[in-house]
């Protein structure tokens, strides 16, 4: 009994591989583009530009990260960002704080709608959020038919690196603390890895899911604020394809696409940075957008294949 024979675990199944691969990928991409761009990508001004383009993605990733940990998906993020931005820009003409609060609330309400159909009507999150993606995109298009929705003229004055950076860091720190030190992370992972068993261990699965969809929406409201102060207005394409960017980023960061126990919080930051550097590098190399899409598609597919947790099975909740 005691003389248990420990055999070698196949290379790809070792935890160390899952933990090291995303970092190795990050370093690889940094080195690759340093060489290819002759170091240009990492000049101070380019880094600043890179960072300024990353805030929205990083913030939005936080909410989706939690949804995906539970084994769900959220495709409505891009359109949601658009709707929230419309609300924020419109209300900023009256009061900037009112604008933020209502932007966040809008996100929360949309999240609740996602949650309602997913939890109460038992439709997979994949379908629900794709429906809402189109529905909300329609709303943005409607609001911006005649002209873009402009924010108050001085709204872009908030757009500074110290403000944006500390705004993002605060969100990350709060999310991290809640995820890691309140047991929420454990519960979300348990739901992702086995919903029924989580319920039988006392996790209030329905309530938690509703809450997380709502919070994910609210966080996107915050991302919409950063987006609004950066652009100053909303057009019909605001937040277009953000949802796919989020998903690619998280997967690049080493997140299993079906969530569960192997999720790590650093997947968010690492993934968002890797994705942004990859995209910036491709732009700098003068690669056409068409080809960029092709390359990201291939990278995404490879990373999903590498990081999916096959034991949990490819079940989208």
């Amino acid at each position: 009994m005691e003389n248990e024979k420990i055999q070698k675990v196949p290379f790809m199944d070792r935890p160390i591989v899952r933990n090291v691969m995303p970092f190795a990928g990050f370093i690889f991409i940094v080195l690759l583009f340093t060489v290819l761009t002759g170091g240009q990508l990492f000049t101070i001004s380019n880094l600043k530009l890179l960072l300024s383009q990353s805030y929205v993605l990083i913030i939005a990733c936080v909410g989706v990260f939690m949804v995906m940990t539970m084994g769900g998906l959220d495709f409505s993020q891009g359109s949601m960002l658009g709707v929230c931005s419309v609300v924020i820009c419109f209300l900023s003409n009256y009061n900037i704080f009112l604008a933020i609060v209502c932007g966040v609330l809008t996100g929360g309400v949309i999240g609740l709608v996602n949650g309602f159909f997913n939890v109460k009507r038992k439709i997979t999150s994949f379908i629900v959020t794709i429906c809402n993606m189109y529905l909300l995109r329609g709303m943005v298009a409607y609001a911006t038919t005649k002209s873009p929705v402009y924010g108050v003229s001085n709204i872009t004055t908030y757009n500074s690196m110290p403000f944006n950076l500390s705004f993002t860091i605060i969100i990350l720190v709060v999310a991290f603390v809640v995820f890691q030190y309140t047991g929420l992370g454990n519960r979300l992972k348990a739901i992702g890895a086995g919903e029924t068993a989580a319920r039988f261990a006392g996790v209030r699965v329905e309530r938690t899911k509703m809450l997380i969809y709502m919070v994910a929406g609210m966080i996107t409201g915050l991302a919409a604020f950063i987006n609004s102060i950066k652009v100053g207005s909303v057009t019909s394409t605001a937040g277009n394809q953000l949802e796919t960017q989020i998903m690619i980023a998280l997967v690049l960061g080493g997140m299993p696409v079906n969530g569960g126990a192997k999720v790590k919080f650093y997947n968010i930051i690492l993934g968002a940075l890797t994705y942004k550097i990859l995209m910036a590098g491709l732009v700098m190399l003068g690669i056409e957008p068409k080809t960029q899409q092709l390359i990201t598609g291939i990278v995404f597919l490879v990373m999903v294949a590498v990081f999916a947790d096959r034991e949990t099975g490819m079940i989208v909740k």
């Binding site: 248990e4 890691q180 047991g183 890895a193 086995g194 068993a197 039988f200 006392g202």
Partner: protein, 498 residues
């Protein structure tokens, strides 16, 4: 002894970290029923799965009638002369009985690439009739039949072509009296034809009764092969665990006074289609056993008391008058539940041992509202070790553990939560004797510490051996109640079950 039919030479198989079978060399003879026994995770099922093409062995050879065989999958195995009846359900829903019987062999009925369904149905019906299962219609969709009938259909599927070697893997636990009889008939017939049956079962009495020879596996290693007529169940247990079984397998006390303090009360609990007007008073330090046939509703009782049933009516009350209507409230009020469905309901199977043990206790583990990872680890280690869980460490994933060890983690979780009322549904299902003894021991200790236990079980011996009171259910209602006594016989309980 007659000549060798199947020779297994140094069969070896690894599942990532586990060495499931370790160079097993074994002969099976013509005209024998050869039992394979061993604890959970000893490699019995893996061995036969490699033989029949469910898994692929790493190294080694199987030689059937002097010719090496290497089954690529189950159908391929059938054509090479080996067949298996599996432990869990082995038929596919949505297909007809005939389609199930000839699954993967449709080519036998095709002419010019067109399947002759009529001929297949006719052949299937002939086969069913020849086994005496006339009431099963080949053209029916299989979902029409209950679990037991589906097993019978599986028997036809696995044996109609007269395989040289028939593997019966832990099938009997799923069958009732009638099904067992049919299965044993088929096994004996196979033996009498000069073919061979490999029989896997946890029920040692059944093993001795049905088999000619018994091989014992332990941790993937072949320990010994003995003649069934020469051994007793105790001898087998010794071989399986490698040491003497202690005498106090079950409780030995009788006539102990039970406290009058009621800790849990069920009033007219009804779950539509499952149980009706179920009443119960559980006392402090008492073990109540609930028994019956598998479909009698007793498994739903556990869920209902734990607040996990949908549409439950009636009341579940604690001593302080609090009502239990959902799982969270149940757990917060010190009720624990270990489901019969271990992999789906008791455990988050794709999560670590640590997370599984800590999940209900996360709030208790917080210091100043903050959960520390090292507290979780220490907590999990403490209780996993207390249950002597066989593991590499608490970071290990549940899916890598054997059935008995999974159950230990379930129990470690609730011991860690320090629950006062413990509902155990089939706590020893599919678990080997050694772990069983551990679990009974633990239940006895808990009882003495003033914890109350409801044990739902399909094993009569377990009910007689462990419970202070036994409730027998039939068709969703309580049909009999017995007090613990040395004079109580299994026949008394069975009389109330059927």
């Amino acid at each position: 002894m007659s000549e060798v039919l199947l020779h297994a030479e140094k069969i070896d198989k690894n599942f990532s970290a586990t060495h499931a079978i370790d160079h097993v060399t074994l002969d099976f003879y013509k005209g024998e029923i050869h039992a394979l026994i061993g604890e959970n995770g000893s490699g019995k099922s893996t061995f036969t799965s490699c033989l029949t093409g469910i898994y692929h062995k790493d190294t080694g050879t199987f030689t059937l009638n002097g010719k090496e065989i290497n089954a690529k999958n189950q159908v391929d195995g059938n054509y090479q002369g080996v067949a298996i009846i599996v432990q869990e359900i082995g038929t596919l829903s949505g297909l007809t009985v005939a389609e199930n019987i000839f699954l993967g062999k449709e080519n036998e009925f095709t002419k010019l690439h067109v399947k002759n369904t009529k001929a297949m149905n006719k052949k299937a019906q002939e086969l069913l009739n020849s086994y005496g299962f006339d009431y099963i219609k080949a053209t029916d969709i299989i979902d029409k039949y209950n679990f037991e009938d589906r097993k019978l259909i599986e028997i036809v599927k696995a044996t109609h072509f007269k395989p040289q070697v028939l593997v019966v893997d832990e099938t009997t636990t799923a069958l009732g009296e009638k099904g067992r009889k049919e299965l044993f008939n088929v096994m004996r017939q196979t033996r009498d034809d000069g073919r061979c049956v490999i029989f896997i079962s946890h029920d040692l009495d059944e093993v001795i009764e049905q088999s000619d020879n018994i091989s014992v596996l332990r941790d993937g290693v072949l320990i010994d092969t003995v003649k069934s007529s020469d051994v007793s169940t105790d001898d087998l247990k010794k071989l399986m665990v490698g040491r003497e079984m202690s005498n106090n397998y079950y409780r030995t006390d009788y006539g102990e006074e039970i406290s009058s303090e009621v800790v849990l009360k069920a009033q007219n609990v009804t779950v539509p289609g499952e149980i009706k007007d179920f009443n119960l008073e559980l006392h402090k330090g008492e073990i109540i056993g609930i028994g019956g046939l598998s479909e009698c509703g007793m498994h739903e009782v556990g869920k209902a008391l734990f607040g996990a049933s949908y549409d439950r009516e009636g009341k579940v009350l604690l001593a302080n008058g609090n009502e239990i209507n959902d799982i969270k409230t149940a757990i917060d009020n010190s009720i624990a539940y270990a489901s019969k469905d271990r992999d789906n309901e008791s455990l988050v199977i794709n999560d670590t041992i640590q997370d599984n043990i800590c999940l209900p206790s996360l709030e208790d583990l917080k210091r100043n509202h903050i959960l520390h990872a090292k507290d979780e680890k220490a907590f999990a280690e403490k209780f996993a070790k207390q249950m002597s869980t066989k593991m590499e460490g608490v970071h290990q994933f549940m899916s890598a553990l054997s059935g008995g060890n999974k159950q230990k983690v379930v129990l470690a979780r609730w011991i860690g939560k320090d629950s006062d009322i413990i509902i155990l549904d089939s706590p020893t299902r599919g678990i080997d004797v050694k772990v069983k003894a551990d679990i009974y021991q633990m239940m006895d200790t808990m009882r003495k510490n003033g914890k109350s236990i409801i044990m739902i079980s399909e094993e009569i011996a377990e009910l007689l051996g462990m419970a202070d009171r036994i409730i027998i259910m039939k068709d969703g209602i309580t049909n009999g109640e017995f007090k613990r006594s040395e004079d109580l016989k299994d026949t008394d309980l069975i009389a109330k079950m059927v």
